[in-house]
C-alpha cells in the first residue's frame, strides 16, 4: 500500500463557547492514500465538518497531528494555513459558494489569480470543463445558472489549481436527484481520470456509494 496522502493521528478540536469547552473531535485517526475517493458520513454534530476544516486549513487543531503529503499542518500559522488552502486543497461546499458578482469563468479565474497562476488555463482543464458540461455557461453569473451548473462550476474552481485534495462538504445537499447524480458522476470521473483524491461529507447513502470507502463518525470519533 502506498504512503498515505493524509495521515491523521489522535486529532482533537475543542471549541470554546462562552466559558464552556465543547469538544468537536475527540481523537480521530485516519489514513487516506493518494487517489482515494473517501466518503465521510455521520449525524450532525459528529465532527465531520470540523475534520474537513482542519484538513483544509480553515482552522487549527487543538491537539494531535495531521500530515498532508508528509507535511505536518497542525503547527502551521495562519499564513501557513492560507498557503495550504492556496496550494494543496480545493473546496466544494453545499451552498456552492460562488462569488455572485463574477461570471463562472471569473470565479474560476479568481482561484488561479489567488494562487498566483496565469489566467490562461491548460488544455487539459479545457477538456475538464467539457467533462463538467459547463463550457457553454462560463460567461454567466451564478444567478443565471442552475444549482447543478453552479456546483459544477464550484468543482471546476476547486480543481483548477490541481490541488492534492478535493474536499467536498455535502456537495449534493442542495441539488435534486438528477443534478446530484450528475455532480457525483463528475467527481467519480475526476477521481478515475486524474486520480484526484476526494474527501466527501454526505448524509446521503447513495452519494456515499460513489466513493471507494466510507468512514462513519459519531461524537467526534471515527466509529467504523
Amino acid at each position: 500500500m502506498s504512503e498515505p496522502l493524509i495521515e491523521i493521528r489522535d486529532l482533537r478540536k475543542i471549541y470554546r463557547v462562552g466559558r464552556v469547552d465543547v469538544p468537536a473531535l475527540r481523537g480521530v485517526d485516519l489514513d487516506v492514500p493518494p487517489g482515494e475517493f473517501l466518503a465521510i458520513v455521520g449525524p450532525s454534530g459528529s465532527g465531520k465538518s470540523t475534520l474537513f476544516h482542519i484538513i483544509g486549513g480553515l482552522t487549527p487543531s487543538s491537539g494531535g497531528t495531521v500530515r498532508i503529503g508528509g507535511q505536518d499542518i497542525s503547527s502551521l500559522t495562519d499564513a501557513g494555513r492560507t498557503q495550504l488552502r492556496k496550494d494543496k486543497v480545493g473546496f466544494v461546499f453545499q451552498k456552492f459558494n460562488l462569488l455572485p458578482n463574477l461570471t463562472a469563468a471569473d470565479n474560476i479565474a479568481v482561484a488561479r489569480h489567488i494562487a498566483g497562476r496565469s489566467q490562461a488555463v491548460d488544455p487539459e482543464f479545457e477538456g475538464l470543463l467539457k467533462l463538467l458540461g459547463i463550457s457553454e455557461r462560463l460567461n454567466h453569473k451564478p444567478a443565471a445558472l442552475s444549482g447543478g451548473e453552479q456546483q459544477r462550476v464550484a468543482i471546476a474552481r476547486a480543481i483548477v489549481n490541481h490541488p492534492a485534495i478535493l474536499l467536498a462538504d455535502e456537495p449534493t445537499g442542495n441539488l435534486d436527484s438528477e443534478n446530484s447524480a450528475a455532480v457525483l458522476d463528475v467527481m467519480r470521473d475526476l477521481n478515475r481520470r486524474l486520480r484526484q483524491t476526494i474527501l466527501m461529507i454526505t448524509h446521503n447513502p447513495e452519494a456515499a456509494a460513489f466513493a471507494h470507502r466510507t468512514v462513519r463518525m459519531r461524537d467526534g470519533r471515527i466509529v467504523e
Partner: protein, 367 residues
Amino acid sequence: MTARLVLENLKHKPMRSLLSVFLIAIPVTLILCLVGLSRGMLEDSARRERGIGADIIVRPPQTSVMTLSGAPIPEKLVDAIQRQPHVALAMGVIVHPVTSVTFVSGIDMPRFNQMSGGFKYLEGGPFRGPDDLIVDEYYAQQHKLHAGDQVTDILNHRWHISGVVEGGKLAHLSVPIHTLQDLTGNTNKVSQIFVKAGNPADIPMVMAELKANTFLPDYNIYTMEEFTSLLTVENVGGLNTFIHVMVAIGVVIGFAVVLLSMYMAVLQRTREIGILKALGASRWFILKIILAEAVVMGVAGTVVGIGLSFVARALILALYPASLTQAITPDWWPKAAIISLAGVLLGALYPGLSAAAQDPIEALAYE
C-alpha cells in the same frame, strides 16, 4: 483580476457606490469652491484696481492690503500729489461698503475718464446730476436694473441710474465723489489716491519722490503691480486657517462616508470574504480589494467634485454675478484628490482590516 473584482463589487450595489461617490464629492466641491471663491474675489479686486489705469496707489497709514476702512485721507493731498514733478494725474476715490461683498466708489468723473479712459457704457451714459449712479453689468444683471431706473436701497438714498457699464473698473457701483463724501460724513476726504506717472519709466522716480515727501508720513505707497500681487489668500488674515479647517473637515467627511460605506459593504460581503479565504486569499489580498474599492470611489468622488465646482461656478455666475466671483483652481485638483484619498483610505482601513481578519469558517457560515 483584482481590478475586475473591485469593479464588479462596485457595480453590484450601484446605489451604494454612487451615493458614496457623491458624498465624497461634496467636501471636494466645498474645498474647491472655497479656494476658488477666495482666489476669484481677490483676482477680481486686482483686476478692478488694474482697470483704473493708475501706476501707483497711495493708501492710508495703518491699513493692510486687504482692509480699507472709511476715508481718512484729506482731499487736499490729492492736489499736493498732483503738483509733484513727473505725476501726470492724481485721483482721490472714496470707497464705502454697501453689503459685506459690494462696495460703492465715489469718483471724480473727469479725472477718472482721464486716468482710465472712461467707462464703456452698455446703457445710458455718465453722471448728469449729484444723485446719479452708474452700475456695472454684473450688478445690473443680479438686481435686474437698467439705465433710468431709480434705486433707494443703497445707503438709504434715492439714486437715479444714469448708466450701465462694462465691469472691471472700480467697484460695481459708482457715484459722484462729493455725494458719497457727504452721505458718509467724509466731506473733503478720500479712501485712497491713484497716481499716474507722466511716463511709465518715471514710476520708480515718482515712487521715490512720494515716499520721500513729508506730507505723506507713514502712508502706504505701492506700485499697482506691487499692490495687486499682494492680493493673495496668504495676505488675508485668517483665510488660510479657514481653508485648512475646511480641508480637515473634507478629510473627516471622506473618512466617515467611506468608513460607513465600506463597513456596510464588508458586512454584506462577509460570505464572499469567506469564499476568497477558502480559496487561499491572504489577509493582504482581502485588504487590498477593500482599499482599492475605496480608492476608486475616492478618485471618482474627486472627479465628480471637480465637475460640481464648475456647476457651482456657473450657478454663482448666473445668480450672484456681482457679489461673488469663483475662480477655477486646477492647481488645487491634485490637492483635493490627495485630501479625499487620505480620507477614504483612512475610512477603508478599519473595515478592510476587520474583513482581512475574519475567520473563514464563520464568514462562510454567514447568511
